[in-house]
Symmetry: C6
Subunit: 261 residues, 6 copies
Amino acid sequence: MKRLINPCVLSFYLIFISHGDMLREERILSGIPGLDELIGGGFPKRSVTLISGGPGSGKTIFSLQMLISGAERFGEAGVYATLIEAPEELRLDASSFGWNIESLEKAGRLALLDLRPSRFLELKSEERTDSFFSWVWRNIRFKVEEIKAKRIAIDSLNVLSAHFRDEHQFRQKIMSLIEALHEFPECVSLLVFEQITLERTIEEFLTDGVIILHYIPVKNGMLRAIQILKMRRTRHSENFHPLHITCEGIRINPKETVALF
Amino acid sequence: MKRLINPCVLSFYLIFISHGDMLREERILSGIPGLDELIGGGFPKRSVTLISGGPGSGKTIFSLQMLISGAERFGEAGVYATLIEAPEELRLDASSFGWNIESLEKAGRLALLDLRPSRFLELKSEERTDSFFSWVWRNIRFKVEEIKAKRIAIDSLNVLSAHFRDEHQFRQKIMSLIEALHEFPECVSLLVFEQITLERTIEEFLTDGVIILHYIPVKNGMLRAIQILKMRRTRHSENFHPLHITCEGIRINPKETVALF
Amino acid sequence: MKRLINPCVLSFYLIFISHGDMLREERILSGIPGLDELIGGGFPKRSVTLISGGPGSGKTIFSLQMLISGAERFGEAGVYATLIEAPEELRLDASSFGWNIESLEKAGRLALLDLRPSRFLELKSEERTDSFFSWVWRNIRFKVEEIKAKRIAIDSLNVLSAHFRDEHQFRQKIMSLIEALHEFPECVSLLVFEQITLERTIEEFLTDGVIILHYIPVKNGMLRAIQILKMRRTRHSENFHPLHITCEGIRINPKETVALF
Amino acid sequence: MKRLINPCVLSFYLIFISHGDMLREERILSGIPGLDELIGGGFPKRSVTLISGGPGSGKTIFSLQMLISGAERFGEAGVYATLIEAPEELRLDASSFGWNIESLEKAGRLALLDLRPSRFLELKSEERTDSFFSWVWRNIRFKVEEIKAKRIAIDSLNVLSAHFRDEHQFRQKIMSLIEALHEFPECVSLLVFEQITLERTIEEFLTDGVIILHYIPVKNGMLRAIQILKMRRTRHSENFHPLHITCEGIRINPKETVALF
Amino acid sequence: MKRLINPCVLSFYLIFISHGDMLREERILSGIPGLDELIGGGFPKRSVTLISGGPGSGKTIFSLQMLISGAERFGEAGVYATLIEAPEELRLDASSFGWNIESLEKAGRLALLDLRPSRFLELKSEERTDSFFSWVWRNIRFKVEEIKAKRIAIDSLNVLSAHFRDEHQFRQKIMSLIEALHEFPECVSLLVFEQITLERTIEEFLTDGVIILHYIPVKNGMLRAIQILKMRRTRHSENFHPLHITCEGIRINPKETVALF
Amino acid sequence: MKRLINPCVLSFYLIFISHGDMLREERILSGIPGLDELIGGGFPKRSVTLISGGPGSGKTIFSLQMLISGAERFGEAGVYATLIEAPEELRLDASSFGWNIESLEKAGRLALLDLRPSRFLELKSEERTDSFFSWVWRNIRFKVEEIKAKRIAIDSLNVLSAHFRDEHQFRQKIMSLIEALHEFPECVSLLVFEQITLERTIEEFLTDGVIILHYIPVKNGMLRAIQILKMRRTRHSENFHPLHITCEGIRINPKETVALF
């Protein structure tokens, strides 16, 4: 089923072209080839977006690429809070796409924050005055203010949730985290989320945007596609678009759609 | 499968046309293009309707649009209780559709109540004499009486439920909330509800009406449709109708139907 | 798949025609157009039937119509115990079908019992000597005896169940409620039940009869049908029959069947 | 898919014809038209069989018919333990098929035991020296010995299970009940079981036999069929056979099969 | 889909034919017609195999037949631990296939151990010094050593599991049971397991082999098939093969396959 | 659906051929025929990969084969920690594929660590100073350092998880295990995981790689295929490739794909 382009998206896009300066102020370009066309020209400022997908769907690459592009091409600093992988592994991951994280770190345009639970446990007791959740947030906030970051990624929410036995309590913490991220008016934030079940989750309705990286079995292999499930203040594409992980990172084809169901 | 218009709905609609004044008294026009034809000319007065749908289905836009239309076109004041988004974000959301919330606020015809849990937690202890639920309700009731509101929206029930560990207790609170809303005989109330699972929920059978905003995957993208699942005292459409989110808000096509299953 | 009429049902029906007087003693006519032909000429006296269906399936209309028909056409008094809607709302619901409840109430042929949980909570403590469940039952029994009712409706079981944290305890209460209803040898009782999940429920095997009001999505809209799942001492139809909600209430077509699965 | 008769069943049946006397000793004829041909000539003596099906599937009729046939045609006494319906209701149920229970009761060939939980609760405390489960079993055993019953029906297991909060404890009680029924070497026992979920249940693997009364939706209505899922020491049919509830009770067509899946 | 015979299985089989003596040492012939060809010539010595299937799938017949064949045809003694049926019932079950258990028992080549929970509960308290699980194992070990058994069957695991409220504890007991069975280097053990749900179970990954007896509905009746899901040190068939329960027990057709899904 | 080879994988592979020395440093060849082509030339050093599959899918053979190949063909020592099977059984398993574990053990190039829970329970109390989990890890670490192992296999995670009642606690232990394995910079680690349910599991998102051994029913039998679900720093195949268990172990056909869904 080939759908025509929604004329609203089109007109919005044309406005974007002609009144670029005004709108660019309100939008942050992702730098991921093909993505910004799907979301009305970029992420809304101050928005918090969930990046959701299964294992191997490319969530970490997506988030890294957006921060590195911001730093390299738009001069916008980024803070990448890693709760799973060690920073040196992320540097290796990036180098396999030809991205040089270290030079950006040295230039003060990218910060990899090592916020793995094991780091927290190694703290001396006098340094460990608050909970893991608060420690994570305090470190992010400090670094964002220090380097005047415009892009934030937290990878992943699942590690945070693993520290709450009580889902009810976790939900309230996530609400307050999102409110806190909204306090940085110039920033765009990505929350990486590993989809473990097929059910909709509470996280999806708390964030301003939800981007799903589909990675699903079809006949003889796996198919990759991106879907903008929701994005506030944005006439976004409602189709599934093919996504490729190439030697140079993620590339989206905004003009094509694929059938997932 | 093309269905003929149910003659009952038709006759009801004709009566509505001819005896408009009498019936208009009993109905509140939504102002959402195409909707009122599906629900016998408007929402029944004093009714409480659940607006249900998944993330990105347009529940907040739907509710905002109905209150703004009421204020702008019918001179009916509205109270929008927001439990998730900050008021300034809602104003931005609205302006992306060309709606000017601030001018309506100044005119006393629309009130955005900031009832986010974080506001409650910031209260001084002497002000926080009752539970979150009671605080929410007390604020809504006060504002409805103050501006003589005819339209109420609570966005969303899920935040209220997140404050109850015990589903049994929550259910009884919802019953009493609906009874309390029924005490405003001139009002129509919308309860926004984020569908997280596919199961029917207790909320659906307690309210007078249930409107479902479908937003479901079909082949290459997402399809939007509206369904009036139930509405008391109303011969409503039993079909699925296409819904579009345009540059000017939601628009429904009451003469067309779409296949969802 | 068009099925022939089961000859047993047919012969039963013929007997009913010819030996009407004798059999009519054992049967209570529903008064819902088309229904009695499906259940061997009417509900068995002393039977308790579950009226089951999802939101918007017409359970309340069904039950109201049966009590109003009994009062208007057969001179049989009815008690409608409402646990969700306020009596004034039910009167409005009824008037939208052209039914005048108030005149029947004045004539002592219909009683609307307001047994909402909020009424129970408003009782003074000296009046509230027993549990909600007992209070509901005591009020029903008293009114049934007072007006010599032949038809009883309890709308809905779900509100009763909401007052039991423990499903085990609820099940035993329902057993005893059904036994108590059996003590009225001349009555027919309807228990309204909102189907929330698709699973079979304990209620279905405790009652003498189960009538399901199907209201299910098909292609472009919703389809209505009635099914007599079980009815003791009755050769009932085993097909799905179309059900319409018209300007004058429910109408069933006993000669047609529809495919649901 | 038409299947040929399994030659083993056939030869078994032929042996049954020729060596009838010897084998009849080991088999108890059900008396339900068409059933005995499916189970190698009748139920094995001392066997305990689960009669399983959903609401309206005919479990109670099946069990009543087998006990009444035994009493009327084979002179074998039966004990029907009813845990749901009152005895007078069962008598009415039976009379709608032309069966006269009362005359069999007077002749001492059929006993209806009223073992509803409410009867147990009405006992004086000095009579209520043991649990509900023990009381049920004690009454059954006493009556079986008194009238030298050869057929026992317990309707239904679900009521027994409703008295155990702990499934683990219930399972052990059922094991011991089945062992106790095995102590009557000349008897055949039927345990009526209302299938509430589609999952296999523990009861199915503890009994010697499992008979399923299918009552499932197909296109425009419900289809009835019987399946012998298992029966120890018996070459039984492995097909689904049509079952009809006629004016004279259940009738099975052992020569036809129907497609259920 | 007809599959060619895996050449590896074939060559293995040919080796088996030519170097029979050497390999026979490592394999224990099941004696069930058609089975040994599917499992590389027989069960590996010292292996523990789960025999899994639903009610009526033939698990008890399978296990009995393997022990009786071993005793009659290969002179290998067997211990059958029965936790559900009484020994006299098993003897009757066997005689319906023409198998004479008693003569084998007298010859000391087959032992039926009555390990039903009721036997355990009847023990005097001084004899009941350990748990049910330990008592079961102690009896099996003693008998295996006494008659120098080469074949062991435990029917069924489900009864053992019913004695553990805690699944975690049960799992550890099963691990230790399997280790203990491995201590008999010349034996092959069968653990009968009644599949209640469709989910894979912990038992399947702890045993050396898993054989599934499929008994599933197809169109008008039930279909029987055997599947060797896993067997260590064995190139086994990976197909579904038809299984018949004949007058002489189970018979498998190793050259044919059937479609189950 | 035949897919063309992803040009990125191809170019990567070509680079691998021409600049072998440099890259080989970063990759560890599996030695499983056909696998290395699917994962960009081998496993990344320091990576931890989950080997996931159902019973009988070949997980143990896969892991054994990779360690034995490493020892035999590349001179890289391996540590195989077995938590289910006894070492002597593994030696037998291996010999059925013609692999001689004992000679590799003697040469100090392969160590089978017997870490079954029963071994832990046999320890004297003074030796059992820490938990089972710590004991397992301490033994592995000691042996890896002793023989300078480059390949580690832990078979299986499920046994570790069986020692945690609390899933939350288990998850944190697994995180720390993976971090600890990352401390061996020259090693590749395999974590064997028995898939019991179809749901995605927490383990899948914590490891650097996930390889799924599919073993699923198709029509008349079972189908084997391998899928590289994820592998960090690697352009891996996204297709399902046929896997065969031959007389000489696992063999993968990287040029063919099969349809699984």
